[in-house]
Symmetry: C2
Amino acid sequence: MVTRDRQRRVTITDVARHAQVSTTAVSKVLRNASGVSEAMRAKVRAAIDDLGYRPHNAARAMRGRTFTIGVLLPHIRNPFFADIIDGLTEEISASGYQAIMVQSGGRDPAAERRASDALVDRQVDGVFWVAPACARAQLEQLADDTPLVVLGRHDRSSRYDCVLDDDEVGAELAVEHLIGLGHRRVAHITDSLRSRSTALLQTIRAATYERVMTEHGLAEHIAVASTSYTEEGGYEGTRELLSRDPRPTAIFAGSDQAAFGALAAVHEAGLTVPGDISVAGYDNARVTGLAHIALTSVDQDGALMGRTAGRLLLERIGGRTAAVRFSVTPTLVTRRSTAPPDPRPKGPTPDW
Amino acid sequence: MVTRDRQRRVTITDVARHAQVSTTAVSKVLRNASGVSEAMRAKVRAAIDDLGYRPHNAARAMRGRTFTIGVLLPHIRNPFFADIIDGLTEEISASGYQAIMVQSGGRDPAAERRASDALVDRQVDGVFWVAPACARAQLEQLADDTPLVVLGRHDRSSRYDCVLDDDEVGAELAVEHLIGLGHRRVAHITDSLRSRSTALLQTIRAATYERVMTEHGLAEHIAVASTSYTEEGGYEGTRELLSRDPRPTAIFAGSDQAAFGALAAVHEAGLTVPGDISVAGYDNARVTGLAHIALTSVDQDGALMGRTAGRLLLERIGGRTAAVRFSVTPTLVTRRSTAPPDPRPKGPTPDW
DNA sequence: GGCCGGATGGGTAACGTTACCCATCCCAGG
DNA sequence: CCTGGGATGGGTAACGTTACCCATCCGGCC
């Protein structure tokens, strides 16, 4: 590598010299530590402003904190994650902490591990892990190193905090809604990655779907496409479901993203929503509310979950060790993508 | 802060002791430096595996590189950015570099500056800045510190690389398409943040729209809603445009995200797409291709742009100083959201 | 007046890594 | 046989910050 002639950064030593005090004093002011007079504080702050000093993060990391929160997201394509991140950002913005995001890939355990390691190697002060797919042991190992808040896992642990919604309630709302409309052949699209049985939300949503169907005497109509919670997954899953005979009249997709794919597949098959097929999603990401999409979805307030995760993480960084579990009770938001099944054969597809 | 009893990390010293060599030797192996025998290399690697050693990034940052690339995104909600990041990730995955993402906020200059500073403070080896809104001077100042690749800016600089599409060609394709279908009252939704005139892509798209309209003798029908390239912006902008009399028969939204908002607003107004209003977007994010949305859009191959940005950044980190400008020529992808204007009054809205 | 304790400010040794320099060793060439 | 130089391995001083400890000062109390 060619050495760049970047001008040397302003360091704490420069500030100390400029303010005619010790580096220790400057450090204390920076950290709001006690044992600093008001006069000292003012003098140091003035010097900091004069020189445009900013703390050098890596050097801090060697000794103590980095004021950095690491966020692990399966991928940034999911619009629901944007809601969560908005909440998180809002919550931590005043604290001086900075969130950095890394994609964990979601389905490849090795990639997920690499992403998690990358954050630990960068000495983040805490990790916010959205929808981890790894084993609980790995989460606990990480939690031993770093304050950890996990979103969307149902296994309990005393070593990290959990933020989640009650997926059993949510899935029940969706399936009951569809059955209540008169549907009997209600299908489900789930994520095939569900090794850790009851820990993963997709497992719970799928199991609840089967339970509710069974409770309504519709066990014989249970139809699950096991793909993924992505647009591609929803698309492929729906194509598979539509090829069955008789085909379902309603689809409960395990995520809004999958529901988008489902809408596309239904449309591509020349069928209408909700005329031929009702579609319900899960997450109620902000985009699903747009009138053009108007997807019926289970709302779980991503912004609140993000804010809560931020608060819990700051608390943990601050020293709390008792585990906290924050559960949101989801609600159903009905929009135009669901309707009673139409008994009559349909005419041609409308132009939109 | 309570001191966590995290077990001490394995350091290069531990590896050296375990392998019975010097720390210098281990460091050389880690960096693939010259002056290391094959036997030494093998011995050190074995020790690294034995102990599960991972380099401590912050310590590296104190001396040299961090093997980290910082990515600045206005926000993660835009699906087109996901395409770009996929390309970037693919390109750098083999290099040992890790991308960390920070949201820059997009419209608040102070927030954008903070985000940029946050990456510099964390000693990233290079920055990939998507759609910066700041002044060019700020970019050049950053480029003096850190290798920089900028996406989506049209101002030329010798200090950083640019990846962009030819927005003039793209906007022309979209507007010509709509006019070619027979539309005369073609409106445009742009982003109000365009202080740095010709540098920002939204300025070019808007100016091109006006130019093409004028060239076709449609200057009197120029109608621009100046909101933002978000869903909210598209929604609000479209509501404003629809309230004009006579209302436009086609809308060219400056981004797909804005087009989503436009579709929602059109639908909410009880109008159909493309029956009453044609809508075209820009970016051709992968989601717009879904049959349910089927948005006509200007394609600019985000994955290719992301891959290229990754390559250019690695080259710059490797020492290149000559500036590179990589421009993609966009193409138009026509889908069902655009059609000739309907001269007859329409009946009621179809159910989807 | 002497003493004690809290408040204030500073000195210094790490933290883990790498760049730079130096010491050996070995082999080829004179 | 001697010399020179490339290849190899190691010692050490930073990098910028903070935790810990110590010195000083001042006011109040015995």
